[in-house]
Symmetry: C2
Subunit: 309 residues, 2 copies
């Protein structure tokens, strides 16, 4: 019997740039579905699992561009994406005037528009395709993918997206719509995390057992995806290493607020949540879990929550 992880005949080689926490899971799912995958990451340590699962290591972004007609970019931000896409030894120049680059990072719509135009100049179709679902969703292959860009490029890339996403959406041809949709989602996640921390801290201060509070809210109208995902970390005082760091939301809500300012649009709740993540970063927890927002209340008022040793 064939090893299901062997590349299937006729399946196109997929490029994957950025083998971090999410990228490595996406690569793993692509390999499981039989796609040959060529990967690149600036950190050499990122290749160990990738190569063990059958991925092919590239020595440069250009090498990815030469070998793949579809390149998935899972860098942390648009600046990192630009550094691998642009220039004479970048991905775009190496793709030979055709193919698709799917940009999966959270970025400013204006940056994505610029990168889309840059790709088009090289004959490459860019998809503005951020995702939601985190590392767990990436591992399970159940990410939500919010794509914008040329419709034919989206349709041709669907089989690749289906290898790691369960909910695929095409928001329109205009670059930036995917990133805007991701921002709307991050606005909600950020507010919900800050609200979860505020609610748990308030309840604990008022004498409610935090574990019981968690169970009751989960069965009540106050529930949210973020509450159910983050509060168990508070109950376990499990802040480091982070599942998702405080500074990610300093960045993401910063992008949301910068964009809204550019549109002259008020976002009072996002602004309030942003300040909580900035405060948690100021307290020294920028690289610890984003549920560390609750520790602000512990530090201020010594509320009865589980503590780190």
């Amino acid at each position: 019997m064939d090893d299901p992880n062997d590349p299937q005949p006729g399946m196109p080689t997929v490029g994957l740039v950025g083998l971090g926490a999410m990228g490595i899971e996406v690569a793993s799912n692509l390999l499981k579905k039989g796609f040959p995958v060529v990967g690149y990451d600036v950190r050499g340590a990122a290749y160990a699992r990738f190569e063990a699962e059958g991925g092919h290591r590239a020595n440069s972004p250009a090498e990815v561009g030469r070998q793949a007609s579809v390149v998935i970019v899972f860098t942390v931000n648009a600046a990192q994406a630009e550094s691998v896409l642009a220039g004479s030894d970048g991905i775009l120049a190496a793709m030979g005037g055709s193919g698709v680059v799917a940009l999966c990072c959270t970025a400013l719509p204006e940056d994505v528009k610029r990168l889309g135009a840059m790709a088009a100049e090289q004959g490459v179709s860019l998809l503005d395709s951020p995702v939601s679902g985190g590392t767990a969703g990436a591992a399970a292959g159940t990410l939500t993918i919010m794509a914008a860009g040329p419709k034919d490029a989206y349709e041709n890339t669907q089989p690749v997206f289906e290898a790691f996403g369960a909910n695929l959406y095409h928001l329109g041809e205009e670059w930036g719509l995917g990133s805007t949709m991701k921002m709307v989602n991050q606005l909600l996640v950020g507010v919900h995390i800050a609200a979860a921390c505020e609610a748990v801290a308030f309840g604990a201060r008022a004498g409610i057992d935090p574990a019981l509070l968690f169970e009751i809210v989960g069965k009540s109208a106050g529930s949210s995806w973020a509450f159910k995902d983050r509060v168990p970390r508070i109950l376990a005082a499990d802040y480091a290493p982070p599942r998702s760091a405080v500074n990610i939301f300093v960045k993401d809500l910063g992008i949301v607020l910068d964009t809204a300012r550019g549109m002259t649009f008020p976002l009072p709740l996002a602004g309030s949540a942003y300040q909580q993540f900035v405060a948690a970063s100021a307290a020294g927890w920028g690289n610890e879990d984003d549920s560390s927002v609750v520790r602000l209340y512990q530090r201020i008022a010594d509320i009865p929550l589980p503590k780190k040793d």
Copy 2:
């Protein structure tokens, strides 16, 4: 065959005071489970459905207290509850020195403590037992009930609670713990509704189709119970009559913030959300649906959302 709505032999008569949107559904579930129910409401119009379903109309709160050993109070707030409980013609004096009063409204913990002591003086056990799940949960009999008060009173009342609640919790003997837990839940619901309105308005202003935004967030990390419940009302511009009025959250978040101030505890997100409900009330929508917070953005910036004619 017996009519299942007929009172079953041996089932105790339950009193129900406050036959509003939720109270009438709770009465209906009690009657369906075979409890004889004696009800009272200040508004005569409230009795039509109650009596049609087999409920017995009382002419005063005292009449309820005389006929029932368990009285469920579904008034809008603690002041209304006090007006039916206290005094020589109130429920407590009429109960003859025994029985249980379950207070299901959202109230300040300090008010509940006072009412609990007042009941105890008359030999009646008060349960501080607010609920979550709204009219829909009341109709389905799936409310979450967050009770505090004497444990034996809670245990004796469980069969009655099970007629309209699916998730029952006893938070402790101390009156106020149930109300505090409800406040924690309302803090989250209020913040989530204001955030949902902010996110939909921001997305619409940035060119995202609101119906698509609703679908994508529902499958993403930004989802919440409140988002899924309220945003369909925005998509239908269905603000009146309200499912839950703006002024309910002006009241409930006001209670949360008053309590936190009494504890000297900061709640930045709840404060920000509160101001949005106050603004919606200032705009004239206090008695319309709480999703009207999104109309603030329409009024300010004419965003492309469905409008009322």
